[in-house]
């Protein structure tokens, strides 16, 4: 099997170690014997979405987010057409590109891709916190970090229940969207590396979408698991 990842706006939407997620996916897929290639694409480039299996976008500054949005909007119709074949993965404020609109700090509305009906609004503050969240399909929690200027007040069918941390907006206690085509979360940085169980689950979803008959095998994530367990241990100590 060949798997092609488009790392979109790799040079503009890369605030918090976001490239770690792409490396994690690449190494995991390669362990499964899959031939992986990554294309790095930015606002100067033309995009042929028919070439890719997965599109990844990370977090960016508020200015860069709008530059990326402007570029991505020119592909809105094409993206809609390819929804069923393509997978999308967005971390940090990249999730906002897939909502209905982004309200900036001057209360100006920037229409987004409208994959989902939510609206993101920039606030005069930043949400910065360590996160522990749970979801239906994983036995142990997902750990992460938030560092965002905007909030999503209402999110239909969120994927994560936030046990510690803020959520997509103060006091919402939920975050993220996961469908067959799309996985997005406000959690920043290399969440797939910090959460080996989430990586294993997500890689399985990606592979099975492309080939339902594909035989999975166990990934070697020894260091990742030890790091994850160490964090859980520290969190328990903090709680006590």
């Amino acid at each position: 099997m060949k798997f092609v990842i488009a790392h979109l706006y790799y040079d503009l939407m890369n605030l918090y170690g976001e490239s770690g997620n792409v490396i994690a996916l690449q190494k995991a897929l390669e362990q499964l014997g899959i031939d992986v290639s990554i294309e790095f694409i930015t606002i100067d480039d033309e995009i042929d979405f028919s070439k890719y299996d997965l599109v990844y976008i990370g977090a960016g500054t508020e200015k860069n987010q709008l530059l990326a949005l402007e570029h991505l909007l020119s592909y809105k119709e094409e993206l809609w057409k390819r929804m069923s074949h393509l997978s999308f993965f967005a971390t940090g404020n990249a999730i906002e590109l897939f909502g209905r609109e982004i309200i900036d700090e001057h209360q100006v509305s920037h229409p987004a891709l409208s994959f989902f009906p939510f609206r993101a609004e920039r606030k005069n503050m930043r949400i910065v916190d360590e996160v522990v969240a749970t979801c239906d399909f994983l036995k142990t929690p997902v750990i992460g970090f938030q560092n965002q200027k905007s909030v999503i007040e209402y999110l239909k069918n969120p994927v994560f229940q936030v046990r510690q941390g803020v959520g997509s907006s103060p006091n919402t206690k939920y975050d993220g969207i996961m469908t067959k085509q799309f996985f997005g979360t406000y959690f920043i940085g290399p969440i797939l590396i910090r959460n080996p169980h989430l990586l294993t689950y997500y890689v399985k979803q990606l592979v099975k979408k492309k080939d339902p008959e594909f035989k999975m095998k166990r990934l070697n994530l020894t260091f990742e698991k030890k790091a994850y367990e160490e964090h859980l241990k520290q969190l328990e100590l903090t709680e006590k």
């Binding site: 918090y16 770690g20 930015t42 500054t61 940085g189 290399p190 030890k226 160490e230 520290q234």
Partner: protein, 443 residues
């Protein structure tokens, strides 16, 4: 009121010194009871402020020392208390009871987020912004936010001193509203044509948003650039490093002044040039400035290089949550050929807060190690497995990666490794590591 408050402030300052208490407490107390204190102080004609993500302490100390050598009386926040209270303490320390600062030049380093609180009261004549890097994301948010904070502190009467090689700093003067003196480093034997670093703060033109093209790079986004679409380009600098030699280690400014560097690292060259530019902008005695800088740098002891069982050890001091400091260390390591053992670690990520944000670890381009002959990587601390994971993803064979919760057992492990040792450590592990090496070597 003013005189009474200054006398009380000076008594607190005196008591603080006796009790060896915090360097910013007197400033905190005086501002609490007399908020206009800083505004009421009569300041000298020359006021130099140094701000930016890194280098401000070393640049401002060097500048203060050179002014002293030139015969000026200098007030400087030498203890590094660079927030509002620290600056108030500095004024208290140097002012007469009548509120006049007893100095010819005021030099102060100021935290990049606090310039906006201090500059309205102490308006600098010259402001050097060293850089804006990826630094403490949980506290700073990101570099654009830091830019906005500094920009809001500036007014057009201030003379800016900027590194021409950094496109991010040019954003301060896109409207040509400031008088600016630029400094720059010419292409040299260490420059490289293709970017070695991936996670950069600026890759597109701040004017028209087209891609920036580089003729060469010195480090991260530092280099000689121009926009692929408009006229945005490296501005013309007044002071240049025309020659750089890390073997000696020396640099030459404008082909005339050869200056000894304290360390063979790029930031030392830039910081020395920055200090030279500040003083040369206000004084006309370039030759004297260079002579004093040279003497100053020679005196500094090089703590970086030591040996362990007849192997070279390079101890590189870094700041967690600041990818740029780690990338500097990686670039330093990348300059050295031959087999290597790497030691990477820290005690805690941050002393400021409880958060364990690790995302910055993936902004550091450890991938540059993949082309080197690495014997072993030793990962130390509570986050040893996170570091080990990062090294694995950087392309290092898992079998070569060892983990240690503390320094215990590290020297014994080092004995079994090969090659020069490059210890890339957060500052909280530098001294303990040095000590453990000494103990290990004396056994």
């Amino acid at each position: 009121m003013k005189y009474i408050m200054i006398i009380i402030g000076k008594i607190i300052l005196f008591c603080g010194k006796l009790l060896h208490r915090g360097s910013s407490l007197p400033g905190k107390i005086i501002l609490r009871f007399y908020p206009h204190f800083m505004k009421k102080i009569k300041l000298p004609d020359k006021i130099i402020a140094v701000t930016g993500s890194s280098g401000k302490g070393s640049i401002s100390s060097t500048v203060a020392e050179v002014y002293r050598k030139l015969g000026y009386r200098v007030a400087h926040n030498v203890a590094g208390s660079n927030l509002t209270y620290g600056i108030a303490t500095l004024l208290l320390q140097y002012c007469s009871i009548f509120g006049k600062l007893k100095c010819d030049v005021l030099v102060f380093e100021i935290d990049e987020r606090y310039a906006k609180y201090v500059f309205p009261d102490i308006k600098p004549t010259h402001v050097l912004i060293s850089n804006i890097s990826r630094d403490q994301p949980p506290r700073q948010g990101h570099f654009d936010f830091v830019y906005e904070e500094i920009k809001s502190a500036l007014s057009k009467e201030m003379h800016l001193i900027l590194n021409a090689d950094d496109p991010m700093l040019q954003i301060f003067n896109l409207e040509n509203e400031f008088q600016v003196t630029y400094y720059s480093m010419d292409q040299n034997q260490y420059s490289y044509p293709k970017s070695k670093f991936k996670n950069l703060n600026i890759t597109h033109c701040p004017v028209c948003h087209h891609k920036l093209i580089y003729d060469y790079y010195h480090f991260e986004t530092l280099g000689h650039y121009h926009c692929s679409h408009c006229k945005f380009q490296t501005p013309k600098a007044k002071y240049h490093i025309t020659n750089l030699n890390f073997d000696t280690p020396t640099m030459t400014i404008n082909e005339k002044y050869v200056i000894q560097l304290p360390y063979d690292m790029l930031y030392c060259a830039y910081n020395t040039l920055a200090a030279f530019t500040i003083v040369a902008t206000t004084e006309k005695e370039e030759k004297k400035i260079a002579t004093y800088l040279n003497a100053l740098n020679v005196k500094q002891k090089n703590h970086l290089h030591t040996t362990f069982q007849n192997r070279n050890v390079y101890i590189l001091n870094n700041k967690n949550e600041n990818a740029t400091t780690f990338n500097q260390s990686i670039l330093f390591t990348d300059r050295h050929d031959g087999k290597k053992t790497l030691v990477i670690g820290w005690k805690e990520i941050s002393r400021r807060y409880q958060f364990d944000d690790l995302s910055w670890l993936y902004d550091v381009d450890f991938e540059l190690f993949a082309r080197h002959d690495i014997d072993t990587v030793i990962c130390i601390g509570l986050h040893r497995y996170d570091i080990a994971t990062r090294m694995k993803y950087a392309g290092i064979d898992e079998k070569k990666i060892k983990t240690f919760e503390s320094l215990e057992g590290v020297t014994a492990c080092l004995e079994k490794t090969k090659g020069d040792i490059f210890a890339i450590l957060n500052f909280d592990l530098v001294l303990p590591f040095q000590e453990s090496l000494k103990e290990g070597d004396s056994k």
